[in-house]
């Protein structure tokens, strides 16, 4: 199906952005190069006249495609919806007061109700929407039932209303009772089959999800693990490179397997892990990280992470320790990062003033951002850098 964006001439479609109900008026306005307000008011006016507006709107809703939209669906401006509803209410009351065209048009209103009900039901058959529900949570499935029930109710009420309006309800009553009995009977007969069918459908869906998951795992293993193993075989003569490859693959796999998903990129723990991974790759010294708690990464906390990164670089480059330990703890009022190695240590007073690593990138950076850094070291006793930063807004 061609979409509005690549058709040779603009095609009537319903945009998601800026829609009030379904985007019909918005789409039509774009087509006619009018302000959507004009069309919305036109629909409202047509609704006052025998409910034609509702029917027209519903028809357009059904038969115009929705514009493809990426990203989260924007919320509707309910204030505007309320405004249009109020306008139509007012106009309706006005026409009733002056005894205008609404008298005797009860039947039209019933048709409008049937239309809305049909529309709600029609929405259930929308494939894109159905797919979203398939993937969605239980809550959404429940909402679908609510919608279906609501749609059915509207159709039934509308139909009865139409019959009542045209004075044929009494005549239809017997037929209705007969229909109800037949439908009820069929439902009783068909119920077991439908249940089995539903269960099979569910099993099939579960199986499909499982297969998709398996495919995803296979793809991941192929892209990462198999690839690295090949690289390791080709670099077998270079132990340093083999170690680096193995270590970085291990880290990547661990993150994929064990790191909580909500651990988004913009948190302190994620930033510390990322910094450590970079240093590890660059200098080939394993860095063990333990994080307790987490917080969003603010500019000050980012400075803290950068200082910690520099401390890790120093430890990896100069300490000659087999491993560097990093411990980051997020507390309600402050964040502390410890970078420790059991390497050769150094004499802090003997550090030449031009060695920028400690003085500028660690201590200076922390102090400029309102934090503090403490370096504890002595020749032969390893080094521990303690970085503390108060959290913003506390």
């Amino acid at each position: 199906m061609p979409t509005a964006t690549n058709a040779p001439y603009p095609r009537l479609a319903r945009p998601v952005e800026g829609r009030l109900l379904a985007g019909v008026a918005q789409g039509a306005a774009a087509q006619l190069r009018l302000d959507p307000v004009v069309l919305r008011l036109a629909f409202v006016l047509l609704t006052i006249i025998n409910g034609v507006g509702v029917v027209a709107y519903a028809a357009l809703w059904m038969f115009t495609p929705s514009l493809p939209h990426s990203g989260p669906r924007p919320a509707r401006d309910w204030g505007q919806v309320a405004a249009y509803a109020a306008i139509s209410m007012a106009l309706l009351a006005f026409t009733m007061l002056i005894g205008g065209g609404t008298t005797g048009s009860f039947g039209t209103w019933a048709i409008a109700v049937v239309g809305i009900g049909g529309l709600v039901l029609w929405q259930q058959a929308d494939t894109a929407r159905r797919q979203r529900w398939m993937r969605g949570a239980v809550q959404q499935v429940r909402r679908r039932w609510v919608r279906t029930g609501f749609g059915l109710l509207l159709v039934v009420v509308g139909a009865i209303g139409f019959l009542a309006a045209s004075g044929e309800l009494a005549a239809a009553r017997q037929g209705l009772a007969f229909t109800a009995v037949v439908v009820g009977g069929i439902a009783v007969i068909a119920a077991p089959y439908i249940t089995v069918l539903a269960r099979e459908l569910q099993n099939e869906r579960r199986e499909r999800i499982r297969q998709e998951e398996r495919a995803e795992v296979a793809a991941h293993v192929h892209d990462s693990v198999l690839h690295t193993l090949t690289l390791i075989q080709r670099n077998a003569h270079d132990p340093r490179e083999v170690l680096r490859l193995a270590r970085s693959q291990e880290r990547e796999l661990r993150n994929w397997l064990y790191q909580p998903k909500e651990d988004a990129d913009a948190t302190v723990a994620a930033a510390v892990r990322r910094a450590a991974a970079e240093v590890e790759d660059e200098h080939g010294v394993p860095i063990e990280i333990v994080c307790v708690g987490d917080a969003d990464l603010t500019p000050r906390l980012n400075a803290l992470v950068q200082a910690a990164r520099q401390a890790m670089v120093n430890a990896a480059k100069y300490a000659e320790a087999p491993v560097v330990s990093v411990y980051a703890e997020v507390e309600p009022d402050e964040v502390t990062v410890f970078v420790r190695d059991r390497g050769k240590g150094f004499d802090l007073d003997a550090v030449p003033p031009d060695r920028m690593g400690i003085r500028e990138s660690i201590i200076g950076r922390m102090e400029r951002n309102g934090g503090s850094a403490r370096v504890r070291t002595a020749p032969g006793e390893g080094t521990e850098v303690t970085l503390t930063m108060r959290r913003e807004g506390s």
Binding site: R254, L257, Y258, P260, V290, V292, S325, Y327, F338, R340
Partner: protein, 211 residues
């Protein structure tokens, strides 16, 4: 006196690697490669310490713990795994293991850990200490049993130092206490970890696993 150790792991290469790395104070009395053979070997050989892999065919380390400790055995377990998942770590500790170390541990450190477990003490890796701090830090619900459900200030300090990569000896020096006192604190944390009914502990561990 040597400590008699049984190595339970489904990777043969790993078992022989560990065997080669352990110090002279350790005597490896046997190996097992799955849950059934592990339970049988423990009953037959009566080792002092079992080095237990977490992921194994037939239910893993937790199943071994359940079956052996369920019989009232006094054998001590040290869990050894490649896994970093909180669920696994907290799971084997609550199952009755007296310590948890990762397979990247060096030979001397592993020897040290085995000797410590044989003495009835607990062995916490930095990551396990971090998990415990994290799990006990959340204060959403009031503790049901304050004695079991919260850590003392001193225990917290000890755990923090473990998480920072300090050895017990270094912790003792740092806090001006004896190594024995450090061990007492860690054992006390282990007991809380195993006995606390703190609802959040399990929930926290599984929540971390939601991948």
């Amino acid at each position: 006196m040597t400590v008699r150790v049984l190595i339970v792991d489904d990777h043969r290469l790993f078992r022989s690697g560990v065997r080669a790395e352990l110090g002279p104070q350790i005597e490896v009395v046997g190996e097992a490669e799955d849950v059934d053979s592990a339970v049988a070997a423990i009953n037959e050989l009566k080792p002092d310490v079992v080095l237990l892999d977490v992921h194994m065919p037939g239910g893993g380390g937790q199943e071994v713990l359940r079956r052996v400790l369920g019989q009232g055995s006094q054998v001590r377990f040290l869990a050894l795994s490649v896994s970093d998942a909180a669920e696994d770590v907290i799971g084997v500790i609550r199952g009755g293991a007296r310590g948890y170390v990762t397979k990247t541990i060096s030979g001397p450190e592993l020897t040290d850990a085995i000797l410590r477990v044989a003495d009835g003490d607990a062995v916490f890796s930095p990551r396990l200490a971090g998990f415990v701090l994290d799990a006990f830090a959340s204060t959403e619900a009031p503790p049901i049993d304050p004695e079991l459900d919260s850590l003392t200030q001193r225990e917290r300090e000890v755990l923090r130092l473990i998480a920072r990569g300090y050895a017990y000896k270094e912790i003792a020096k740092e806090l001006f206490i004896s190594v024995k006192t450090v061990e007492t604190h860690v054992s006390s944390v282990l007991r809380k970890l195993q006995l606390s009914n703190r609802h959040e502990l399990s929930r926290w561990a599984t929540a971390r696993r939601l991948v």
